[in-house]
Symmetry: D2
Subunit: 144 residues, 4 copies
């Protein structure tokens, strides 16, 4: 994956620390390389839905934001990305003490970046794929 911004790691990291909703949920980056980001979230009671599974919205937020960070790792310093849409399949009712997302850029175009995000629930130390998302992000000029 081509590196267009030598400070890609710092930029992708900032995508986590600068986003209030991500801080509020507790999502944090684990590893960043060009076109790939892994992140994690310790599951708290407030992340659950009415049947005490991890809410689909939490999984979607983790999948989307980690995909965004992966996209940030391959764009130029004078660009930003914004999610234009995503689809997510929730394969199993998710529970456990932690969620992890691994996001891999599949295609880094001039205008659109396509990223695949896999979400894993860790329960009793055992990791299980619970969701998979395809995220499309628009490449925009910026930051100002």
């Amino acid at each position: 994956m081509e590196i267009r911004n030598p400070d890609y790691r710092q930029r992708a990291t900032a995508i986590f620390s600068d986003a209030p909703f991500i801080n509020d949920l507790g999502i944090e980056p684990l590893s960043i390389s060009p076109g790939f980001v892994e992140s994690r979230l310790t599951i708290l009671p407030r992340h659950l839905q009415q049947d005490r599974f991890i809410h689909a919205g939490v999984q979607a937020t983790l999948a989307d934001h980690t995909a965004g960070a992966a996209a940030f790792s391959v764009i130029g310093a004078d660009q930003l990305v914004l999610t234009s849409g995503f689809s997510i399949n929730l394969m199993s009712a998710a529970s456990g003490e932690e969620l992890r997302a691994r996001a891999q850029v599949l295609k880094a175009g001039q205008r659109l970046i396509c990223v695949e995000s896999s979400v894993y629930a860790i329960s009793g130390g055992v990791e299980k794929l619970v969701a998979k998302a395809m995220v499309t992000l628009a490449v925009l000029p910026g930051p100002d």
Copy 2:
């Protein structure tokens, strides 16, 4: 839309009050009828992303959960639904003082329910469509 549970309104309302993540975000129902639910969220700084737009994950959570409530309004008292997947298009960078979602059941099958959710941002009192989602939910036996 056929009513299979006379207490559909109470059940769909409980989907909001019983889900910790939904309470935590501040999402609340506005109106419920068979196959249709409208909900709202007052936007707070903690709902934003790094460029101070409303996070895609917040929009996705609102779209998904409101769709789930709409699905709950058309199932039997001895059934529950679980999101099996959704796709969401984010048409505009969203900002404003409030989000609203309107979810309409398009097809209530024996096994799958398909719901369309439209998300609107209200800024200065003016409402704008910012996202649209198609949510697929599996109908399962339960609650126990």
Copy 3:
């Protein structure tokens, strides 16, 4: 919906007549207005799948191409569009003598156009919604 190309009707019509796959299947436009296109397809035995329902691929092709024509109706004469992705929900096993698609542009951005396509099967003269798609198209410079 703003008209950026006075010859929009001719252009959207040509999208049907100039596409070999669309001619081969038998898809034809019914009505074109700025941001909206309706099309039809007479169902033949060759459009079916193994259980003699209309193949999901036929429905997807109709939904996607009609969305593309709707997008062509709102772009400039010096632009073209290319589908970057879509999601489709197939709500019922589709059968009948004809399929119709109605595609409505939801958002015509400078870079991306978002279109909603509804697919109806007509059986014994009765129309039924069988599929709904959200199509995202990239706006590109061209034709050369």
Copy 4:
């Protein structure tokens, strides 16, 4: 991947030969194992769209049908599957002499099967990923 039908290979093969639309397009299976199917299509002029790229509908049909065959390889002899929906990302304008799809079952549930399909275009003997789809199929009783 668990084998619930010892004749899984014959059944998945028949999904290609028994579907008129698939025969009409020219799609054929290349390899079948439990939960995985690869297929191919020789590209003809009739598969193209107005700019002479391979039509998105052709790619979607290949991705969906190959996913269906992969799902058929993991169900019981007394069951069938029907696509309930899919999303597809078209990463590059596709051209070449052949398309191939590789479909892998990600989750084979009692009610829903989730399959990932990757579509490759082969041009001058060089293979390139052009599209990726996530397909959700409902498991139904049958054949009669």
